[in-house]
Amino acid sequence: MSRKIVKGAEAMAIAGKLAKPDVVPAFPITPSTTFPEKMSEYVACGELPNTEFVPVESEHSAMSAAIAASATGARTCTATSSQGLALMHEMLFIAAGMRLPIVLFDANRALSAPLNIWGDQQDSISERDAGWIHFYGENAQEGLDLMLMAFRVAEDKRVLLPTMVGIDGFVLTHTSEPVDVPEQKAVDDFLPQYKAEHCYLDPERPTTVGAFAPPEYYMETRYQLDEAVHSSGPVIDEVFADFEKRFGRKYSKIEYYGDRDAEVVFVAIGSLCGTLKDWIDEHRAKGQKVGLVRIIVYRPFPFKELKAALANAKIVAVVDRSISLGYGGPVFSELAAAFVNDAKRPLFKSFIIGLGGRDIKLNDFENIYNAASADLKAGKVNEKMHWVNINKEML
């Protein structure tokens, strides 16, 4: 293992390189561009002698090429962001429906219009229904580790699902920080060559892939795919445990930080949790109890783990860095729905934060905490949605 200072997006490329993919079709888009740049460089410099880098003309083509490559039995990965992921939309569903273990690095970024290249999680959260497994990292190290684990999970015979790994655009992709880079040998042992058994190209044994299914078949295919995403949960746990054994870094579907008996508990995804942990430490030093549940695996949705983690919470402040326009925070709505049939459940309050790269500061969490605490005291949630650090004078 070597420790070096790299930008987050480069850490993702290093993971891509360590996984020794057969095919990497990619189209550059800020802030994910470092990934295709570095991957094509590795290929050109002979550091990935068995990898084919395919420069395509759009993200739609990138995912199409990835699907074709993966359907022949090749280990395939790509990267994109924002509009690029949106352009892949229809192909994402196809990748999942065909059960192709493609790994995608998404540099989480806002969607147009207005044009904005900065970080939020709107792009990948908007793709939550596509049948992909979703991992989200808090820092560059987690991004690298989750990327490696994504290959293992995706290609597991019990799973066979495409997997995307998100790290926040710019805040993580363009920040340089120390990252432990595993040795190639250790990664090779952790991640053996992909040997496709369900979908591959063999002229001696022709198969039909991507066929159509009329109404008398389609429902069953959806049922089966939904089951597959749900039941990837135990395999993810297993892969996380094996990774910890080999590399010493512990992962779980959700991370609990702070006081277990806290009445006010935050739920959030991604890099903002780092700042939030600092705020929690400051807050606890003053003797007040507060907790954080960070979601690392968003699909399959970790129902069981979240319910256990929030068993003692009196009010849950769900901090979404994306929004379902016309409804509210996506994580908020899903989390609240997960509790809807429980007799005993906490209050849920929705917060929208950090859209389009709006800086997320310590004080923002103070405001969230105060708003949630006030609602807890009143015994009911007073507003549908709370926009954090928004300048109402501009409206």
């Binding site: 200072i5 820092n139 805040v171 363009h174 340089s176 120390p178 942990k277 790269g357 997320i360 310590l362």
Partner: protein, 187 residues
């Protein structure tokens, strides 16, 4: 935690300066985090970069609003940007200029000056119209940290190694310039 803000113009290497200092601090066992103001990479436009260093892993992900030190790569920025904004009362402002620290007044905060442009040109780093001062000015940083005994202290030898490691070309010229700035900074 020690926080540094860099002011430069697009193309002058403010981001690289932050990265060089990060490598130096990292080699001395510190955790570091460096990043630019995101998305404004236009040549000539005022840019800023940030560096955090600490003895423990850094989790904070917001911009630096109250830096312990500020490094100004281009003196012409002072009339355009409020380089002293938010600087802590015991902070320090390091400026690339031929002037003396007493020529500046930033609410009586400590000012350090160094003729990084002159030193860089003497060592053939960049051209008269576009001198490359990002490695050079860090010499002044190492000097003032040594004297002030701050948490951001970075040894000159670690810094010179980092300059050598991060320089894509003219490695020894960069090292010599950094050393000269270390020796001639007006503290």
């Amino acid at each position: 935690m020690y926080e540094v803000r860099f002011h430069g113009r697009g193309g002058q290497g403010a981001v690289t300066a932050a990265e060089i200092l990060a490598v130096a601090a990292f080699s001395e066992g510190k955790y570091t985090q460096s990043f630019p103001v995101f998305g404004v990479e236009r040549r000539g436009a005022p840019v800023a970069a940030f560096l955090r260093m600490d003895d423990k892993a850094i989790r904070a992900r917001y911009q630096i609003y109250e830096p312990d030190a500020v490094i100004v790569l281009d003196p012409s920025l002072i009339s355009v940007v409020d380089v002293s904004a938010g600087v802590k009362s015991d902070g320090v402002i390091i400026i690339n200029t031929t002037k003396h620290p007493s020529d500046f007044n930033f609410d009586s905060k400590k000012v350090v000056t160094v003729d990084a442009t002159g030193i860089a040109l003497k060592n053939k780093l960049g051209s008269a119209t576009n001198p490359i001062v990002n490695s050079t000015i860090l010499g002044a940083y190492a000097k003032v940290m040594e004297i002030m005994g701050k948490k951001g202290k970075t040894g000159i030898n670690a810094l010179l190694d980092a300059v050598r490691y991060k320089s894509p070309a003219k490695k020894e010229e960069n090292v010599a310039a950094t050393k000269e700035a270390y020796e001639t900074a007006k503290v």
